[in-house]
Amino acid sequence: MIHKYFMNGLFIVLDVNSGGVHLVDELTYRLLDEVAPPFEENCPEKAVNALQGEFSAEEIADCYAELKELYAQKILFAEDEYEKYAKFAEPAPIKAMCLHISHDCNMRCQYCFASTGDFGTGRKLMPVETGKKAIDFLIERSKDRKFLELDFFGGEPLMNFDAVKEIVFYAREREKECNKKFRFTITTNGILLNDEIINFINQEMSNVVLSIDGRKEVNDRMRPVVNQKGSYEIILPKFKKLVAQRDKDRDYYVRGTFTKYNLDFSEDVFSLYEAGFDQISVEPVVCESKYPYALTEEDIPAVSAEYERLANRILENDRAGKHFNFFHFMIDLNAGPCAIKRLKGCGCGNEYVAITPDGDIYPCHQFVGIEKFKMGNLEEGTFNEALKQEFSQSHIYNKPECKTCWAKFYCSGGCNANNYQYEGNILQSHKLSCELEKKRLECAIMIQAVRKLEHLSEEEIPASFRKC
């Protein structure tokens, strides 16, 4: 399977099953509409006839020979050899946890998927003892996995900061006994950040996600505090301070959400960059289509165009010697995760679970509060192995839309929670999410291609490319 597209003056061909990315000239791009394996010795007459008005017979023959060579090298029209690995997912240990340390929040974000913090289950904070039981559960269930991930999530986790500290200290003791390594992350709205908390986060958290939407007016429209005033002026100086004091080799993200209200969201990305941040994620809102700010399928063209605009602005920024990282355009075309990882995405319900303040276990934070997906409870010592088994089967070969999709080894089947919430089945792909993901991937690959080309001398670039 191949996927080809034209963007920013480049003809790009992705060989889906090998991961090969090829830049081609216009002749090759069009010849790929005419030919496919099995390749004959010479270019089929039908293909020659289709193109020979614009290209010479010799050029067409040359081009066909190059396609055959790539096919022989198994980097064009390569076979899908990975389905046999999907069984690796079945017995997976649990290695990651979203700990809902607080089902309460000091903000009232309009688009909150957690019903302004409590996930529809009542405002409450997680007791320290429940958090410690979650640590024990994760260690026990992780079997031979060394790296364990735990994200302090909410609601707003800093509303229960003392518990965060105690749970981190407890985990640090236990990781030594058990030869594990905890990687903590925290996702915060920033309202309660102070010097003590900033120091603690910068010392203990391998990643911190700082929620802010971009431009002041955009942020304040959707992210008011409880008294309905905007949050931007409160949080921006605190986020700047946290980032300024953080070791440069430790991860952080400022993370925003865009909605139908700001389809020009590249302005928000650059607003965050100009405010001094260089690790930026701005992502599409996830909500039911009934809300006025919801993104719907009719917004796909506008959002796609804006992603392309953002990609070009990032390249222009590069050329000016200025750099920042946009999370959704991060892609490593040479390494990145192995093909086996790429079959099953986040691993929710199988390798990854969420724990509520009451100790209830769910497949991930987005399933919290949906009773049929409650997997068990830490206090009761229950865990639904059958449901874990069901989630372990949520890989791309069991998702009908994914099987034939060119993006399957990049998004890895998408978000199971989105699939359930909007399509009614964790295996049924959510079209809007898919279309936006595909556009992001096209942009991400294009950016890598341009960066590669811009590092080559003119002699290293085939002559037939230069006219593009």
Binding site: G20, V24, T28, E283, P284, P337, C338, Q448
Partner: protein
């Protein structure tokens, strides 16, 4: 080649042969929490 320039190592097949250790990050734990991208994760095999 005159018409095609391959810009990466196209090594998905090789990655499967020596992959599957499972020590890489759960993709939803990085920054997203609402939208999945796996291809931006790092391989952790060498860090085991």
């Amino acid at each position: 080649m005159k018409h095609i320039m391959t810009i990466n190592q196209a090594n998905l097949v090789q990655s499967a042969k020596k992959g599957g250790c499972g020590n890489c990050q759960a993709s939803c734990q990085s920054a997203c929490k609402t939208s999945c991208t796996v291809a931006n994760q790092k391989c952790e095999k060498e860090n085991q």
